[in-house]
């Protein structure tokens, strides 16, 4: 029984009753020799053939996934681009101050629920952790609000005590403003904050997604910054109509700003997710194609070797009989 052993055995459901050697995806011929009934040796190509079949199936699946992601991307992309106009006036008015010094900051991490989308969720989590570290100090504290399964899995491991809210299954229904405003309401009600930092992947193009942080300040901090001058100092030049106090209007403004920024962030993240999935699936199908080429060469070599072996045995047998 000449069974070649390699490391890392894998139990594959093959036809032969002999203990099967592990097959690794290397170009070195994963042959295995069998003994036939009358001691004729033949080399089986069954293992290679099975592997080729499964790799071909994987290639088809990943190609299909890429096309699905492309069509989903087209649908969400128009929405995302239209929603950009929502928060631009807010930024024009209030500015975006990521470097603002606050006591309580809340990091809202937006991630996807499904996997196979490349590294975008890991980059978001890395940035969230970085912000957390930046904002931790004697009097300062940072809490997390997590949207999406993937960030939850990563952050729950080491930052469990800092997590305030976890929200998943965002994309069950197509994203719309009402849903996001309900979410924003929940967050505003349950979490105390001085500054909200929303971490998401901004969609620049199908191949480029940039992790970004948008900062939304609470009304008290806006007042404080306005008094200290800088961009927000111009805020006092604006007359505020309606309402009893300026504070009331600013409160509404901050909440509205938060929901607009969230809406845009969620849409952009959805776009980035689909785009990243497209490119991940694309490279996966390309890899599968390469693997298939290599396996085909191996298969042919094995096949030819077995034919040659058979011929040799026949001819040597014949010449033994003659001579």
């Amino acid at each position: 029984m000449a069974a070649l052993r390699r490391e890392g055995r894998r139990f594959a459901p093959l036809i032969s009753p002999r203990p099967i050697t592990a097959v690794r995806s290397s170009p070195i011929a994963p042959t295995h020799e069998d003994e036939g009934p009358i001691g004729v040796r033949y080399i089986s190509t069954q293992v290679v053939r099975n592997r080729m079949k499964s790799v071909k199936n994987i290639q088809k699946i990943t190609k299909a996934m890429k096309m699905v992601a492309a069509s989903k991307l087209r649908a969400v992309q128009t929405k995302a681009e239209n929603s950009r106009g929502l928060w631009q006036p807010f930024t024009a008015l209030l500015g975006d101050l990521p470097s603002v010094d606050v006591k309580k900051s809340v990091v809202v991490t937006i991630s996807s629920d499904k996997g196979l989308c490349g590294g975008i969720n890991s980059t978001s989590v890395k940035i969230s952790k970085g912000i957390h570290k930046l904002n931790s100090g004697p009097e300062k504290e940072t809490k997390y609000v997590i949207l999406g399964e993937k960030a939850k899995a990563q952050l729950i491991r080491d930052s469990k005590k800092d997590i305030e809210l976890i929200i998943t299954e965002l994309q069950k229904n197509p994203l719309n403003y009402t849903q996001v405003s309900v979410l924003a309401d929940e967050i505003l009600k349950n979490v105390e904050f001085d500054a909200l930092r929303i971490v998401f992947n901004k969609f620049h193009s199908v191949v480029s997604f940039v992790p970004t942080v948008s900062t939304v300040l609470s009304p008290e901090i806006v007042e404080r910054e306005a008094e200290s001058g800088g961009k927000l100092g111009d805020l006092d030049n604006y007359e505020v109509e309606g309402g009893e106090t300026k504070g009331e209007i600013l409160q509404n403004l901050a909440e509205f700003q938060f929901s607009c920024v969230m809406f845009n962030a969620v849409l952009e993240n959805a776009c980035s997710e689909q785009g990243a999935r497209m490119s991940a699936m694309d490279s996966s199908s390309r890899n599968a194609g390469d693997m298939l080429d290599r396996l085909t060469l191996t298969y042919n070599r094995t096949r030819q070797a077995s034919i040659t072996t058979e011929l040799i045995e026949i001819i040597s047998g014949a010449s033994a009989l003659e001579g």
Binding site: N82, G85, L86, Q88, P89, F90, A92, L93, Y177, S181, N237, Y238, E239, V240, E241, G242, G243, I249, N252, L253, F256, C260
Partner: protein, 119 residues
């Protein structure tokens, strides 16, 4: 959503209809449900806004951010009447403060819609 140069805009602020012309003083105003009309030359385009904010900047730029904005001709008058009746009923049968507030909001929006269509 877009950038356009117009002559005048009338916005439904919480303090009433506010006309905004170039050179208006810088203002932040909250909007209540009502009609937004954009005047350009001799043309007027009217939209119904559910609520939002308007920022008027000192350089004669105005940003209007609305939660929902619908051109008036896309509103169905019958549905508006039905909604008004429904919310009035809800108000009279409301027990908690929350229900009363919700019903009141419904009435406000629908009567504004009504006056937008007729006026």
């Amino acid at each position: 959503m877009g950038l356009a140069g117009v002559d005048m805009v009338i916005v439904p602020a919480t303090t009433g209809q506010m006309g905004v012309l170039p050179g208006h003083v810088a203002t932040i105003a909250e909007l209540k449900p009502g009609v937004l009309s954009v005047h350009e030359g001799n043309e007027t385009t009217k939209y119904f806004v559910s609520s939002g904010f308007v920022f008027i900047h000192a350089n004669s730029f105005a940003d209007i951010i609305a939660v929902e904005a619908v051109p008036l001709d896309q509103i169905d008058a019958n549905l508006v009447q039905k909604g008004l009746v429904e919310f009035t009923q809800k108000l009279s049968s409301a027990t908690t403060d929350l229900e009363k507030a919700e019903a009141q909001i419904g009435i406000d929006v629908h009567s504004a819609l009504n006056s937008a269509l007729t006026g």
